[in-house]
Amino acid sequence: MTSSPLALYLMLALVLFCIGMYGALMKRNTVIVLISIELMLNAANLNFIAFSKYGPNPSLFGQVFSLFSITIAAAEAAVGLAILMAIYRQRKSVHIDDYDSLKH
């Protein structure tokens, strides 16, 4: 391969991110949307760790940061699902188009 390892990792992350973005914007089921968001966060983590090894100043900082990122992602997923539960109890549906009471 002519591309450097760094470029390869970054492109992989890009692909994963785009797939995740597609899912987040297109899917009807709210749970799937949440899952797609997790995928996007993963792609970002991969970026960090790739830079920590192959970037201009290799250090452990990228990895540490990705740890924090994972933690926060977990917290966010938990809260997101809790909210989903609460809404589900109200509307009996996980179809994301049903959550539009803020429309004009």
Partner: protein
């Protein structure tokens, strides 16, 4: 004379005071106002006396300057001014006193006196000015005072209309005055009268300029003094309270026009054309108004047309170089016309109507009748009454100037004058009461007293003729000749006046019934001049107003409405973007980000 500026100050204070405290003072407003005006009267006499023993006094301060132009304000006391101050303040005082009784019980009692104060302030300031711009300011202010007072009974449509008419018509005249002011400034470089007169004397102004300015100033005077053709507002102005008519439309404001012409007399003396125009307009107006007066039924309207006619006499005098005669007549007219109006007010108060054909037998009310008849005799020019002396002077000056046609017109007018006045007298005073029910009760004491004093004054003022010419001459470098006229003149004029009385007696004797005729109708409607104005000028202006109103409502209003509507439309359309769906919002955010990124990449950095 240094403190002459306080003369207008007292009525001004009265105005402000009554505006602020009027509600609380109520009935005392009249006394407060009268007190302040009497202080003004004292000051005027004092100034008069000082001027008599001294010279013309001038005082000016710089008001503001724009670039190289310096506008100043100030006052001066010439012989003419001193006299006018006395006349204005004295008559104003009597009107104040009379009004305390006449307007008693009116809800807006204090406002009335406030307006009187405003008017007096404006009038006294007007007669003291040093430059024509300042005069214009007070000219307009006087017009405002007149407007407010004519429309005092504003609940009545007629009063409102009359006030508007007065203001608008005098405004038309004021345009002429304004153009004159502009011309003066252009040619003289200053507004000051002093400079103007110097330039005229030096002959540095071309005669056409002088004539134009003089004529334009006269246009302003036509408006204010009710000369033909701007006279129709005066009869309508009788909608105001009667004391107002006495003050404004007999003695002071309408005299302002005459005063103005007299004040800039050097200008007129330098232009033969202007003098001729003034004299002709004056004479025409005099006879014109006198004919109309013979057919009027309303006591106040008769007096109004009489005022127009007498002002025409004054203009005639001025136009024939009879400066002293004109001022003399102005003085006597001020007193006996005020007397007539006040007495008419008393008559109306007694009889409760203004139609002379519904009156009769008022002679039993002795005091009012006596004072009214004194005024009538004065106006008719019966010997020994003041009108006789001043009219004599006018006839003399016209004769001396050689305008014989104008002379005979004046004589005929004098006959008409006594005719219509005594028509009024014979219909109102002798004979039987037309309406049996009404009891005639003499007017309140205050009214009686003021009537008495004004009557006495109006008789006395007739004898100041000689002194007046000496007095006024101290203003001018060149003396006026006061030649004695032909011996037959007083006789002829008396004959004409008495003839008028006799004719009136024949036609309107108590036992005779008055007759109607078609000429009567023509005269009564003032030669249908009002109707003519209505059909032409008023209709034209209304047409323009309608067009502009349509433009305003549909074009401009439409434009504004369209803009507003389009904004609303835009907002409504934009509201559709708020779907409430998260994915839409997210998608839009993503799109924006992508666009920014693409631009970034394309431009190789931020642009």
């Amino acid at each position: 004379m240094q403190v002459a500026w306080i003369i207008p100050l007292f009525p001004f204070v009265s105005f402000i005071l009554l505006l602020l405290l009027g509600k609380r003072l109520k009935e005392k407003s009249g006394m407060v106002a009268s007190l302040l005006v009497s202080l003004s009267v004292l000051a005027s006499f004092f100034v008069f006396y000082e001027r008599g023993s001294g010279d013309t006094f001038v005082r000016e301060v710089s008001w503001f300057s724009i670039g190289e132009v310096d506008i100043s304000v100030g006052y001066q006391i010439t012989a003419l001014n001193a006299l006018m101050l006395v006349i204005v303040s004295v008559i104003s005082l009597f009107v104040h006193l009379y009004s305390t009784a006449y307007m008693k019980g009116n809800e807006r009692f204090s406002i009335y006196f406030a307006y009187l104060g405003l008017f007096t302030f404006a009038m006294t300031s007007l007669v003291m000015t040093t430059n024509i711009l300042q005069l214009y300011v007070f000219w307009e202010l006087v017009g405002l005072g007149s407007f407010l007072l004519i429309g005092f009974y504003f609940e009545r449509e007629k009063a409102k209309a009359a006030a508007k008419k007065a203001f608008i018509m005098t405004r038309i005249g004021d345009v002429g005055l304004f153009v004159a002011i502009v011309l003066i400034y252009l040619h003289v470089g200053s507004f000051s009268f002093h400079e103007l007169f110097q330039r005229v004397e030096n002959g540095t102004l071309s005669s056409s300029v002088v004539t134009t300015i003089a004529l334009l100033i006269f246009v302003g005077a036509i408006g204010k003094s009710g000369q033909f053709p701007l006279h129709t507002w005066l009869p309508d102005a009788m909608e105001g309270p009667t004391p107002v008519s006495a003050l404004i439309h007999a003695a002071t404001m309408v005299a302002a026009g005459v005063y103005l012409v007299a004040y800039v007399y050097p200008l007129f003396l330098a232009s033969e054309t202007a003098l001729t125009v003034v004299a002709s307009v004056g004479a025409f107006t005099a006879i014109f108004a006198a004919t109309i007066a013979t057919a009027q039924n309303d006591i106040k309207r008769i007096l109004a047309y009489s005022t127009i006619s007498q002002l025409g006499f004054m203009m005639l005098a001025l136009g024939t170089a009879g400066y002293v005669a004109a001022i003399f007549h102005l003085t006597t007219h001020a007193f006996f016309k005020a007397l007539l109006f006040l007495a008419a007010g008393s008559v109306i108060h007694i009889v409760h109507t203004q139609n002379i054909f519904q009156m009769g037998g008022v002679k039993d009310v002795r005091w009012t009748s006596a004072t009214f008849v004194i005024g009538a005799l004065s106006l008719s020019g019966i010997p020994l009454f003041s009108g006789f002396f001043s009219k004599e002077e006018i006839f003399l000056s016209v004769w001396e100037s050689g305008h014989y046609t104008l002379f005979w017109i004046a004589m005929i007018t004098a006959m008409l004058t006594s005719f219509y006045m005594f028509r009024l007298v014979f219909l109102v005073f002798p004979g039987e009461k037309k309406d049996r029910e009404i009891r005639y009760v003499e007017s309140p004491a205050m009214m009686k007293w003021t009537l008495g004093i004004v009557a006495a004054a109006s008789i006395l003022v007739g004898f100041i003729g000689h002194f007046l010419s000496d007095w006024l001459e101290s203003d001018f470098t060149s003396a006026f000749t006061h030649a004695e006229g032909p011996w037959w003149m007083p006789v002829v004029s008396t004959v004409f006046s008495v003839a008028g009385i006799l004719i009136a007696y024949q036609l309107y004797r108590p036992s005779k019934a008055p007759k109607e005729s078609s000429t009567n109708r023509l005269l009564e409607r003032g030669y249908y001049l009002d109707e003519a104005y209505n059909r032409t000028i008023v209709a034209f202006v209304k047409g323009i107003a309608k067009i502009t109103s349509v433009i305003d409502r549909y074009v401009i209003g439409g434009l504004v409405a369209t803009i507003a509507q389009s904004v609303v439309w835009l907002g409504k359309r934009g509201a559709y973007a708020q779907t409430g769906k998260t994915q839409h919002y997210g998608a839009v955010a993503f799109f924006g980000l992508t666009i920014l990124l693409v631009i970034y990449v394309w431009m190789g950095g931020y642009w």
